[in-house]
Structure formats: C-alpha cells, structure tokens
C-alpha cells in the first residue's frame, strides 16, 4: 500500500500500484472506520433509520450488480428487478420448502439467479445497445408474468413467506441484528466486485464496453464476457433479493415491477457508471431523496398557506417525480454521476489554492 498521500499527477510506475483498490492508506482506514461506525449503529440509531440503512445495503448490492453489467460491460438491462425478485422467491422457496438454512439459501439463491441470468442473457450474445434494452424489457414482463402464474414457486397472488435468518441457533431477525447480516453481505459483495475489476476477466469486460470491435481483435471472447456479465449481475441481484426476502419475511410478486428496475438504473447512473463505490452513493441518494421530499413537504405544511394540503396528499407522487427529475437533471448536468463529482471535489482540495 502506498503512503498516506498521493502526489499530484500520475506517478504510478508499476501495474500493482495501478491496480490497487485503496490508493492511499488513508482511504483504507476511512473505509474501515465507516464499517466500524455502522457496526455500532444499532446501539443508538432509531429503528426507522436502521430500516433505511438495511434497505440501502440491500439495494446497494443490487445496484452494484447492475453497475457491473451496465457500467463496466456496457450492456443495458431494464429487467434487473425481475432477477431481484427471482432471488427473493428462490431463497424463500429453498428455506421454507427444503428447510435449507437461511445463511446457505441466500448464496444459493444468488447462484440460481445467476444461472437464470445466463439463460436470459443469451440474447445479449446477438443484440446490443437499444435492441438489448428492449429485449431485457420483454424479459422483465415475461418473468413478472411467471411470478404471478407459478403458484408452486411464488404462491401466486398470495405471495410467499420466507424463514427468518438464523445462524448457529441464534435468531438474527430484528432490524438491529439484521443490520449485521446485511453489512456482512455488502462488504463481501463489494470486495468481490472491486477485486473482479482487477482481474483479467474484469479488464476484458471494460474492454467490451469501451470498444467491442477492438476487444474482439485483441482476443476477448465477446459472447462469453457479455453472458458472464449478465450472470454476475444476476447473481448480485439474486443475493440482494434473497436478503430482502428474509428481511421482510414475505415476498409478493407485485414489488418487482418495471419501476424497481428503473430505480436500480437510476441508482447506477446517479452514482456513476463504472464505479464500485458510486453504486453505493447512488443507492444512498435514491433512498434518501424520498425522505428529503417528506421533510420538505412537512416544512411547507408548517408554513401553513392555503394549498399546502395538496402537497401532503400528493406526497407519494412528489417522491416519484423527484426521482424522475433527478435522473433527467443528473444526465444533463452530471452524466458521470456522484462518483465523478466526488473525484472533482477531492482533486480541487488536493491542489488548493492552486487548483489548475
């Protein structure tokens, strides 16, 4: 690991220093400190903020999976929520019908969903760009239809129930204990993704994104890596969905609609395409935005002018509008997302006051 500060400019002379996850020891300690802080969270946070943190963690895993597909490999998917849902149903099915321990059924659900992703990703071998987006849109609807139809698997309209999380006879179900479960999975999945991007496979995916014709000429097997990216991204979605299933202990097919897919894409785009930490930033943004809207509406109501009740009644729509507007504004003004904004802020302070 390099020193605590990095010199201005690009002085990296070895491949190892180019590949490093933490450019300075400071960034490593900052991440460790953040995780340690989150571990102490259950002792002083309200259960509402804990629930928000848990959801950020779960959706963060799903968003990271989508970022591997969209941001690193350049394949568009509008069907991520369907995989998320498939993971949730698979874990619920395995844990309740076959009495698989939940700690095991979550990764198993991830693997099964990954395999499904490979099958659904087969069109990706032939399609790209827009046509792929439309094909994944179709698979979103087809899978959603399957959820509402497959009584034996999903419980149909009634939904399926999922077992609570238990480890060594210890129940980890309430918000306070489940936070640790989610945190563990988040750390594992993010470390895996960060390392994946340092391997040959990760670099091949980035090559497919940047210029697929050149990549193919350089000996990258396009079909293989496109389908692999679909598989890995679905694996992430499956794990996230399974975590969600055991958190809410009830899975209903209505939750996994196109809007959730779009929300995942919004997280990835607002966070920053092709950035591992960006996926988490985007998730935080999308999850916190509705809370901010709620607080804003409460303040407007506090002012007490005549039309204020219209805002409280339309709160649900205001939240949706805020997300739609955030997507549009980010794409116009900050297309590289929060991760790029964060890099710019750091670069500005590194050279302050001579920032050019």
């Amino acid at each position: 690991m390099a020193g605590s500060m990095r010199p201005a400019g690009d002085y990296r002379t070895t491949y190892a220093s180019d590949r490093t996850i933490f450019p300075t020891s400071g960034s490593f300690y900052a991440v460790c400190l953040g995780i340690a802080l989150l571990c102490t969270g259950p002792f002083f946070l309200s259960s509402y903020s804990l629930a928000l943190l848990i959801q950020i963690g779960i959706y963060g895993i799903g968003a990271l999976g989508l970022n591997i597909l969209v941001g690193f490999t350049g394949q568009i998917s509008l069907g991520h929520a369907a995989f998320f849902g498939f993971g949730a149903f698979t874990s619920a099915y395995l844990s309740s019908k076959f009495a698989v321990p939940v700690a095991l059924s979550i990764p198993l659900a991830g693997i099964v969903t990954g395999l499904l992703g490979v099958i659904v990703g087969l069109p990706a071998a032939r399609l790209k760009g827009l046509y792929l987006a439309i094909a994944t849109l179709a698979s979103q609807f087809v899978l959603q239809d399957f959820f509402s139809r497959a009584q034996w698997f999903t419980g149909g309209a009634a939904g399926a129930s999922a077992e609570p999380y238990r480890l060594f006879g210890l129940s980890l179900s309430g918000d306070q204990k489940y936070l640790y479960v989610v945190l563990f999975h988040v750390v594992v999945m993010y470390v895996f993704a960060a390392n994946l991007m340092r391997t040959r496979d990760g670099r091949a995916m980035v090559a497919v994104r940047d210029h697929y014709l050149s990549a193919e000429i350089m000996g990258v097997n396009l079909t293989y890596y496109r389908i692999l990216a679909f598989g890995i991204s679905s694996l992430y979605a499956g794990v996230a969905g399974a975590l969600m299933a055991h958190y809410t202990s009830f899975v209903s097919s209505e939750a996994f609609d196109l809007l959730l897919s779009v929300n995942f894409l919004a997280m990835v785009i607002i966070g920053g395409l092709g950035s591992v930490m960006g996926s988490l930033m985007g998730t935080v943004f999308i999850m916190v935005l509705p809370e901010v809207m709620q607080a804003a509406v409460r303040n407007i109501q506090g002012l007490g002018f005549a039309q204020s009740s219209a805002f409280t009644e339309g709160l649900a729509y205001l939240k949706e509008m805020a997300i739609g507007l955030a997507i549009v504004l980010f794409l116009i003004f900050e297309p590289d997302g929060l991760a790029a904004r964060w890099r710019k802020i750091r670069a500005y302070w590194k050279l302050y006051p001579f920032s050019y």
């Binding site: 239809d145 739609g324 297309p335």
Partner: protein, 297 residues
C-alpha cells in the same frame, strides 16, 4: 369453435392495432429523425388525453374547440421537451438517452396522477351513438373514428415525407445527419419538428382511447405495447411500425380468443406481444423492414 367471437376479437384487434400503429409511427418518427428512443411515448399519449379531457370536462369547452387547442399545446410540449431535455444529450451514449426518456416518463406519470387522480374519468358524450352495427358486429363509433383518423394520418405522413420540403429534410437527416447539415438542412429544426409532430399524433391517439374507455393512467400502457410493434416492424421503418402495430393488435385479439376458449390462463393478452417480441429479437432482430447496420472499423 366460436366463430362470431373470433371475428369480433379480430376486428377489435385490427382497430386497436391501428391505434398501436399510429403510436408506433410517432415512435419511429422520433427515432429515425433524432436517434432517440422515446420511452415516454405512452406518457405523451396520456398527456394528450388528459389535456383534452380537462378542456372538455372542467372548462366545459365544446369538443371541436378543445381538440385543436389540445393539439397545439402538445406541439409546444413536444418542442419544449426536445429543446430542454434532449438537445443537451446529443452525442451521448444510448444508455443516457434511454434513461432520460425513462426519467421523463416517471416524472410525467407521477405529475399526471397528482393532478388528475388515479381513477378513470369518462369523457362527456361526444358522439350521438356509442356503437354502430357493421355486418352484425358491435363496433364503438370512437373506434371507427380512430380507424379513419389513423388512415388519414398515415396518408398524411406518406405525403409529407414524399413531397414536402420539411419531410424531405427529415428523411435526409435520418439518412445522414452530417451530410444533411452540410446541404443546408437545419438539423435542430428537424429534431424539434419531429418531436412536435410525434407528440401531436400521440395526443390524437390518446384522445381516441379516452373517448372510448375514459382517461386514466392505464392509457399510457400503449407506450409499452409500442415496443413489440416497432420491433416486429423494424425500428427504422414507418410502414413497419404501422404493420407491426396491426400484427400486435391481431395477435392480442387471437391471444384473447385462445385464452378464453381453450387455455384459460387469464392474462395471455398482455403477455403474448412480449413473447412475440423476444422471438423476433432472437431470430430477426432488425424486424421486417429495419435496416441492418454493418459496422466497419
């Protein structure tokens, strides 16, 4: 086999299909001219329907007046969306364009729900008779009007693209933006006008749907059904869009028939177009009339 039901469903299929065809045409128009995939097409249909409904039901204007006012409003809206949202994104990757129109669609949908509520609002009576009998089949008169309007619009499009100066400029832009620009075509103007036309024609379709079954958020579902239609027909072909719409409409009618007579699975009608689309994408991704792109390094 219940022949009357089959014929009735197929006739309905053709009529609904013509509507899909019109919306698909709008979609293709925007895609051809400005390479933008408009995921908010359904919302434009819905906005048109609500705008006309608001003029007729709330302001109590007569239909013959509110209809053109609504179309003018839609033309302005189309231009505004193009100039404010899409123009800064020229040259950005496909994912950005797809996402920005999805963002727009979320925004508009929530806004409309907030403004007009979630319940179906029926149009005040516009036609004297709701249904007419043709060859012993019940056909809604608004559907007949929609079929007539669709045919007129299609003929209008054909004339516009073949003979008018603007239409030729649009075709030139669709073929090669740089070449068109160097020949004196204002590409900006072409983009703006293509959005205006597209949103006006979408609104037409929206008003027709609203007249038949009332206005509600589900009118925007046409925007999703457009994708199977344009994929079957080919993304770059206006005729393909129309034919694709008809094919998807017929397929829906057929699916409903098979469902109600034999399979009894419930919602085959909503899902069949997407299976058709997946199959088409796998065997003939460029559709019936789409242009196959050849890439050279």
């Amino acid at each position: 086999m219940n022949t009357t039901l089959l014929v009735q469903l197929l006739v309905n299929g053709v009529i609904v299909g013509a509507l899909y065809g019109v919306v698909a045409m709008c979609f293709v128009l925007i895609y051809k001219a400005s390479q933008v995939v408009n995921f908010a097409q359904g919302e434009f249909v819905l906005i048109g329907a609500w705008a006309c409904w608001w003029l007729v039901a709330t302001l109590k204007l007569p239909f013959w007046l509110s209809f053109p006012v609504c179309l003018v409003f839609m033309a302005l809206l189309g231009v505004l969306v193009q100039v404010i949202v899409l123009r800064p994104l020229i040259g950005e990757p496909v994912i950005s364009i797809v996402m920005v129109t999805i963002g727009l669609s979320i925004f508009f949908q929530a806004l409309l729900k907030w403004m007009f509520g979630v319940f179906v609002q029926p149009f005040p009576q516009v036609f004297e008779t709701q249904t007419v009998q043709i060859l012993g089949l019940n056909v809604e008169s608004a559907y007949l009007m929609s079929l007539a309007i669709s045919l007129v619009i299609m003929a209008g499009f054909a004339y516009f693209f073949k003979y008018s100066r603007m239409g030729l400029a649009m075709r030139a832009t669709a073929f090669d933006q740089q070449a068109a620009q160097s020949m004196g075509v204002s590409v900006k103007q072409v983009f703006a006008i293509s959005w205006a036309i597209s949103s006006v024609v979408s609104a037409l379709a929206g008003v027709v749907v609203g007249l038949v079954s009332g206005v509600s958020a589900s009118v925007a579902n046409v925007g999703v059904k457009v994708f199977p239609a344009v994929i079957v027909g080919g993304l770059e072909s206006i005729i393909g869009g129309v034919l694709g719409g008809l094919i998807i409409g017929l397929l829906e009618g057929l699916a409903q028939f098979v469902d109600s007579e034999y399979l009894h699975v419930g919602n085959l009608i909503t899902i069949a177009p997407f299976y058709a689309m997946l199959i088409i994408l796998l065997i003939k991704p460029y559709g019936l009339f789409g242009t196959k792109t050849i890439e050279r390094v």
